[in-house]
Symmetry: C2
Subunit: 426 residues, 2 copies
């Protein structure tokens, strides 16, 4: 097998072209970006087999948004999933994950991989499909699927390496209402329960790292034990997995394999900050990919907003990468409208986080542009400055073509005080 | 004029019946609630002229949500505004404010006051309407309107007492892009600019307190200087007004007049916490009523979500009362759908905040109920446990009547691990 150089190893010697590109995008110096990659603080998922638009994730980079698409056994329409993927990209998704479990999985993946975006997958899903059920999945089968995904051009793989016997014991010692809500996590629990053996992704982690190193594919260290409800947030399985993932992140870096860490899950607002800090601590500041956090369980249909609240606090504490939550979360496979709404809300949250991350930089300047347009009551400029301007235009124009807006009309405060104070003095 | 006892004064002597009611609602002891009212930590807006459902706001109480309705010159359909008010109440609004500026203002107010809910108004709007423009408003006219609102049964009045010459100077010393975005604030600036005199609500504050004390009506100390964009958040006008409002809150309490403080506005996520703390500090922990905070300027059409992020952080730091932000904010007068969406999102945020405020209390138990229903895959129970269950049902049922959901189908993680671990051990 031809042993390739991983991006980390190339960065130890100089600045590879991929890093030049992402450094420019992020406003970092190329050497600074390369150094952050070698220290495992920035991850660039870029399978060398498949050139595409790049997205750097981590320290000093804009917060990125992933959108999940994919068929299920109950709703399997590959063409629809591709349209969803396109809708996600049109609304600003930085990466896509194909979570398909229904239909022709390699064909579905091929179609997603034809898009110009970093793509992630969860190999255990396909291993279970092929074996018939989780209990029948062998380590050989799983590693073969992982190799196939790497060869096909997938950029990052969610690998539930932390769902090990220690986490399983914690789950029994300190029971949770929702058990396991990660589909991949549940598959690994089922494998361990059936065989009594260790999760091969954990026991054969060095071998896994060899595969990933050879293919230069990124490990997304999966949070199979993420809490599925507020009550479960303080149970031991979660932190047991944190500690494991931290150690695995260090081992990956030492092996020259790029990785990020997946984080929870459901938890109250006031736990989000320290959970982010804890994950950053155990992993030496590895890029953090958040699923949630969902800060209440009782708002199905509005979980995109519930996620925005959790993301916002997580962003303040250093989270780097958000997995979009759609309004259909907990209820159904999202449709295109759900994908659009969820992607927009996640991107808006990421922007609000970037304002904190970068202070009075480029992101704050985008907001200042909007303020200036509002001061001038220039609607066209406002729609241009808006993240989703056509949506804003639709709302504004439903009451006709007004200089002010139908909220205050002639009693517009901005207009009144602008006339008193005159043009802005500075 | 018949001098009535204010609720604060009654609480100094015992526990009035209104306080018995709200204490029961909030799970507080009646004496504890009465004491918190006398210390100005809880406000109960309950105009004695108009009995209605009560809502306590402040320390130890659930976070409450206000919804603004009202006509404008450009869109004046009183029947529609009443339907909006009803939609807000059906979705959980705790209070309403009538911000009408178009049409027959007393008639509109009468219709809102017929609803079973605490109602707030902004008397300066009507004063300006009657005078023709802000520069013509006299202090006599303004105080007359205030008295009329009190007599008509309004429970709380937004009074921009902090928009004084000091704030006006700060505005000139440290200019802002958006100037003044509070409509009431702008009116007072216009009055001061025209006359060169002090804002009568500030210079004649003792007289104002007499009126409010006689009527036992609550002062909502308005934040006329709230920043209207992220850039303006760090300008001096905002904190100048904070300091003034803190002093006025103390004077109101000393006069036996209940009050809460209105807070900003637009600001980055990481400024929300200390702004809330600062407002609580200067006002000796007065209940805090937040307009926003909006944590980015560039998401018109999604400002309900932007508000949810700001509210979430504010809730963690002690904010008590949220003013709903609708998706039409900055663009148009909200329609019924906007009111429904904005009210739901605000109520969900308030619930997420209550979970932090009350720890493992009643609010966390509501979430646990949902988790238990999810574990059992009992959809009817889930819809019952959900804040907006019929909306959730619509999404779930679009793919037919499934035991699991169309997201994972047979590969439901919860089902899988539940079968492995057996029923919950505790």
């Amino acid at each position: 097998m031809c042993v390739m150089q991983t991006l980390i190893k190339e960065c130890l010697k100089g600045v590879p072209p991929e890093v030049e590109v992402v450094a420019r995008d992020e406003g970092l110096s190329p050497r600074q970006a390369a150094r952050a990659i070698t220290r495992g603080r920035i991850t660039v998922a870029a399978n060398p087999r498949r050139p595409h638009r790049l997205s750097a994730i981590g320290e000093g980079c804009r917060i990125k948004v992933n959108v999940n698409i994919g068929t299920s056994g109950e709703r399997c329409d590959p063409a629809l999933e591709i349209r969803k993927a396109q809708a996600a990209l049109e609304n600003g998704a930085d990466t896509l994950m194909d979570l398909s479990t229904g239909g022709d999985l390699p064909a579905m993946r091929k179609a997603i991989l034809a898009l110009d975006v970093p793509v992630g997958t969860v190999p255990i899903y396909e291993a279970v499909r092929r074996a018939g059920n989780a209990a029948e999945v062998t380590s050989d089968l799983l590693f073969n699927v992982i190799r196939e995904h790497c060869r096909q051009g997938v950029d990052f793989l969610t690998l539930h390496c932390g769902v090990n016997q220690a986490a399983f014991s914690a789950l029994r010692l300190d029971p949770r209402v929702m058990g396991v809500v990660s589909r991949g996590g549940a598959f690994h629990v089922a494998m361990m329960a059936a065989t009594g053996e260790e999760n091969p992704l954990y026991s054969e982690y060095d071998y896994l790292l060899e595969i990933l190193s050879e293919a230069d594919v990124v490990a997304s260290l999966g949070d199979g034990m993420r809490p599925g409800c507020l009550y479960d947030a303080e149970r031991l399985a979660k932190v047991t997995e944190y500690v494991t993932l931290g150690g695995l992140a260090k081992r990956a870096l030492a092996a020259g394999v790029q990785r990020f860490i997946e984080g929870p899950g459901h938890m109250p607002l006031d736990q989000v900050g320290y959970n982010v800090q804890m994950l950053k601590e155990v992993s030496d500041g590895a890029p953090l990919y958040l699923l949630g956090p969902l800060v209440t369980d009782v708002a199905p249909g509005y979980d995109h907003v519930v996620g925005a609240m959790g993301f916002a606090v997580a962003a303040m504490h250093g989270a780097d990468f958000f997995c979009m939550v759609s309004p259909a979360e907990h209820l159904a496979l999202p449709d295109i409208d759900d994908i659009v709404e969820g992607t927009r809300v996640a991107k808006i949250t990421a922007h609000a986080g970037d304002i904190v991350r970068f202070g009075a930089g480029a992101h704050a300047r985008a907001d200042l542009k909007m303020a200036e347009a509002r001061r001038r009551l220039n609607w066209e400029e406002q729609f241009k400055a808006a993240m989703y301007g056509e949506h804003a235009r639709t709302i504004h124009e439903r009451d006709g073509d007004l200089e002010t807006c139908s909220m205050c009309g002639d009693l517009c405060a901005v207009k009144m005080v602008r006339d008193i104070l005159g043009e802005r003095e500075k």
